[in-house]
């Protein structure tokens, strides 16, 4: 693998797009993770469909470019197939909180050991800027030219409510900070969610606001209520880790230490088991 983690694929994001910040942060996170003992070949990625999803082609890691909204299910499947792998998916706000919201809530609820990084640009960018679940009220897009009439979801407090054990917010304009969040999220055992403030220069050019109002969190809240409160602050926009607790992990609860592809029952053992089952059911 290239040490700079690039690929021959042409980058087609708009110049200045916040996605570059996320890509750069991720490229920085990979070697940091390697130092922490996570070999890039164990780091499996996925992505939804949208501008954000293109990141899949821009890093030379193995993984699966999934469907709009479904990468959260995809990576859970990968983890369940081989729990030795570390899995991470990039998702859009439309992806994760529109089409795929059921998977987000249940991944958090069951504390699936996956990392979800949402490129939250408050719009369905790739489909030309319709309002999304995190669009501000009043946001004008081509499917509602007079302005969005819904209040946005709050991804962080929603994930906290659903049971997420690691919740953070990063900003595409703070690359090193974001890279560290990514490292922490991947290392966290259990469901990790990073909401990334991602300006879409075309549809939601929010750099100025974010630059003015992001504020680093010193350390995560201990109590869930406090994390929720922090997630609901709007005077300043806190970035950093909001909440980080340890909880029973889904695949371990399900399998213990067993691993489907590593500890497969051999063909002979299966045949023996079946024969046993049949003989238990033989007519006496």
């Amino acid at each position: 693998m290239d040490q700079d983690f690039t690929t021959p694929v042409e980058n087609t994001w708009c110049p200045g797009c916040g996605n570059f910040g996320i890509l750069n942060a991720f490229r920085k996170a990979i070697p940091k993770l390697e130092k922490q003992g996570i070999n890039p070949k164990h780091l499996i990625i996925s992505a939804g469909i949208g501008c954000h999803g293109k990141i899949f082609d821009y890093v030379p890691l193995s993984g699966m470019y999934s469907l709009h909204g479904r990468s959260i299910a995809t990576v859970q499947g990968i983890k369940l197939g081989n729990p030795n792998l570390k899995v991470l998916t990039f998702a859009g706000d439309g992806d994760a909180f529109g089409e795929g919201i059921s998977h987000m809530i249940f991944a958090a609820k069951r504390n699936a050991d996956i990392t979800v990084i949402v490129h939250n640009n408050g719009t369905y960018a790739l489909t030309t800027g319709q309002f999304s679940p995190t669009s501000q009220k009043g946001f004008k897009g081509p499917s509602l030219p007079s302005g969005n009439i819904e209040e946005p979801l709050n991804p962080l407090s929603l994930m906290l409510e659903a049971g997420a054990s690691f919740v953070a917010r990063g900003y595409a304009g703070r690359i090193d900070h974001l890279a560290n969040l990514m490292v922490e999220a991947v290392l966290h055992e259990g469901f990790s969610y990073i909401d990334v403030l991602q300006p879409s220069v075309v549809f939601t050019n929010t750099y100025k606001e974010f630059n003015a109002s992001v504020e680093m969190i010193e350390k995560p809240a201990v109590r869930l209520e406090d994390a929720v409160q922090l997630a609901k602050r709007f005077d300043k926009i806190p970035i950093g880790v909001f909440y980080n607790v340890s909880k029973p992990i889904y695949h371990q609860e399900l399998y213990g230490e067993w691993n489907p592809v590593v500890n497969r029952l051999s063909h002979a053992e299966r045949i023996r088991s079946i024969a046993l089952y049949l003989s238990d059911h033989l007519q006496e």
């Binding site: 021959p8 193995s62 990576v75 049949l278 033989l282 007519q283």
Partner: protein, 553 residues
């Protein structure tokens, strides 16, 4: 006609244990080394309503239950109303004497005796077994053995109650029936069990499902037994997660399967198409029930044949096959899982409630099943979607220093997204080539059609209906052939065209004649008549035999 056919019917409310009694009765007949077929009929509710279970048994092989019973045990008024005429000529009706006295049959204080015991509602199913054992004139000790094995909760109560019923029945109809011994010792299993065992033999690792009748029994079977068989089950939040998780799991090399029914399968179609594009080998079990929509959830139908041929948008290799017996389900499920991995494409195992939830004795030989290894990457630069002559690209699983990219987008050989005209064309051709390899493979290596009997007329059918048709042919004594299509996609026209121009009858369980449409259009087979039933119930072999005799007369 079967000369020593015996049919036992037990009917009552859900919660009275009629299904359990049916299974126990089947195992009771097995003591005589007889063959059995057992079918459960129940509405979509948990307690009350009307349930019944029928077990037909014979010393010969038997492929269907019969609607006319030799012994009917009816636990409530509604059962009398529905089943009083479902008796053979010398059939015996035993009913709860809390119901007003009937002209025929004998009343037994089934519910009133039950009142003495701890679970008066749940215990009454035992009356059916006690009646059966008594009517066959078996020793009461046999009844004890059965009760101790099959009704272990509150076993003393159960024994006491069983004795009381047995004694009363025995007194009123001593030695009513005599059952000859047969020679069969095969286990009695449901289709859900044989499917679960079959895929385990072919190396299934993970079974994903969201509950939906009639696929749920496979989920339940594997949840209980899977660990020993090497299979774990996962019940995610909905069918979309089910299918996408299964695809994700295959990325790691884990053999994955999903189970669902009509509405759930609809929701999975987006993922089905993804599996086609990403070339993910997932086996989809699609259990049919009467549709459209929620339909009649706990009954049987074959209304999704055409629907199953092209699920998921776009063009990619597709496989659909449907087992014609509970036994075949074992081998076919394994074969389909192997085909999925061989061709790296989604595969549908199409079946019906009548197969998954009925049971019969089956001869399974697990060592006949192998686990086909897919094409593996050996060394050198890996490209997930490398073009090959067969259209099949080698597989490699993580962790690997090679980059392995699966994708839903159109792509180049590396798995990177492409929008270029030539690359798009090439990948379409790759998938089409794979489809052609598949057809070739089926032609050369796979039994795509079963033929039973010989000579005209040819009775065409598919799926679980095959069982009833075969039984009906036995009943009718007709000289004819049963042609069962195992594979439906690719459609085995190569095999079937020879029947064009011959006398054909098409038998299926739907209202528009979907198999007929395919046979007409793809093979020029124009039947002299078609026989369809679409009331949610499987055919009765005797009625079907009569129809067959009429149309072939």
């Amino acid at each position: 006609m079967n000369d020593d056919l015996f049919t036992f019917l037990i009917a009552g409310k859900a919660g009275q244990g009629t299904k359990k009694a049916g299974i126990v009765a089947a195992n009771f007949f097995a003591r005589f080394k007889r063959n059995v077929f057992q079918m459960n009929d129940y509405p979509s509710l948990i307690r009350g309503g009307h349930n019944f279970s029928i077990v037909s048994t014979s010393t010969q092989k038997i492929y269907s239950h019969y609607m006319k019973a030799d012994l009917a045990v009816l636990l409530d008024q509604r059962s009398i109303k529905i089943h009083q005429n479902h008796l053979t000529e010398h059939g015996l009706l035993v009913y709860d004497d809390a119901i007003k006295k009937q002209e025929h049959g004998i009343g037994i204080p089934i519910t009133s005796l039950a009142k003495k015991y701890s679970t008066p509602d749940l215990i009454v199913g035992i009356a059916g077994i006690a009646t059966l054992v008594a009517a066959i004139a078996c020793d009461r000790s046999i009844l004890d053995t059965i009760i101790q094995k099959e009704y272990q909760r509150n076993v003393q109560d159960n024994l006491g109650y069983a004795h009381e019923i047995y004694d009363q029945v025995f007194e009123k109809t001593p030695k009513k029936f005599i059952l000859r011994n047969g020679t069969d010792t095969d286990p009695i299993l449901t289709g859900a069990e044989t499917i679960g065992l079959g895929v385990s033999a072919a190396g299934l690792d993970l079974f994903f499902a969201y509950p939906m009748t009639p696929s749920t029994p496979i989920l339940h079977f594997l949840s209980l037994q899977g660990k020993k068989l090497g299979v774990r089950t996962i019940q995610p939040e909905n069918e979309i997660a089910v299918a996408n998780m299964a695809i994700g799991a295959t990325f790691t090399g884990a053999r994955s399967m999903v189970g669902t029914s009509g509405g759930g399968f609809c929701l999975m179609q987006e993922a089905f198409s993804l599996a086609g594009m990403a070339e993910a080998p997932v086996l989809f079990f699609l259990g049919q029930r009467p549709g459209p929509s929620t339909g009649v959830p706990t009954y049987t139908e074959q209304g999704e044949l055409l629907h199953s041929l092209y699920p998921g948008q776009g063009e990619f290799p597709r496989i659909v096959a449907s087992p014609g017996s509970i036994e075949e389900a074992f081998y076919l499920s394994a074969e389909l899982l192997n085909l999925a991995w061989h061709f790296q494409t989604p595969v549908i195992l199409l079946s019906e409630k009548h197969l998954t939830e009925s049971s019969m004795n089956v001869n399974l030989q697990p060592d006949k099943i192998s686990e086909v290894k897919p094409l593996q990457h050996n060394n050198g630069n890996y490209q997930r979607y490398r073009k090959t002559d067969s259209g099949i690209s080698p597989l490699l699983f993580p962790p690997s220093k090679e980059m392995i990219k699966w994708t839903s987008y159109e792509h180049d050989e590396n798995g990177y997204t492409t929008e270029e005209a030539e690359a798009i064309t090439q990948m379409h051709i790759k998938r089409r080539t794979k489809q052609e390899s598949l057809v070739q493979y089926l032609k050369e290596n796979i039994k795509t059609v079963n033929e039973y009997g010989s000579g005209e007329p040819f009775l065409f059918t598919f799926g679980s209906t095959t069982m009833t048709v075969r039984e009906a042919v036995l009943v009718s004594g007709l000289q004819c052939s049963v042609i069962q299509l195992i594979y439906l996609q690719p459609f085995p026209s190569w095999h079937l065209q020879k029947y064009s121009g011959h006398k054909a009858i098409i038998i299926e369980q739907n209202s528009t004649g979907q198999l007929e449409q395919l046979l007409r259009e793809k093979c020029g087979i124009h039947p002299i008549t078609s026989i369809r039933q679409f009331d949610g119930r499987p055919f009765d072999p005797e009625l079907l035999a009569e129809k067959l005799k009429k149309v072939t007369a």
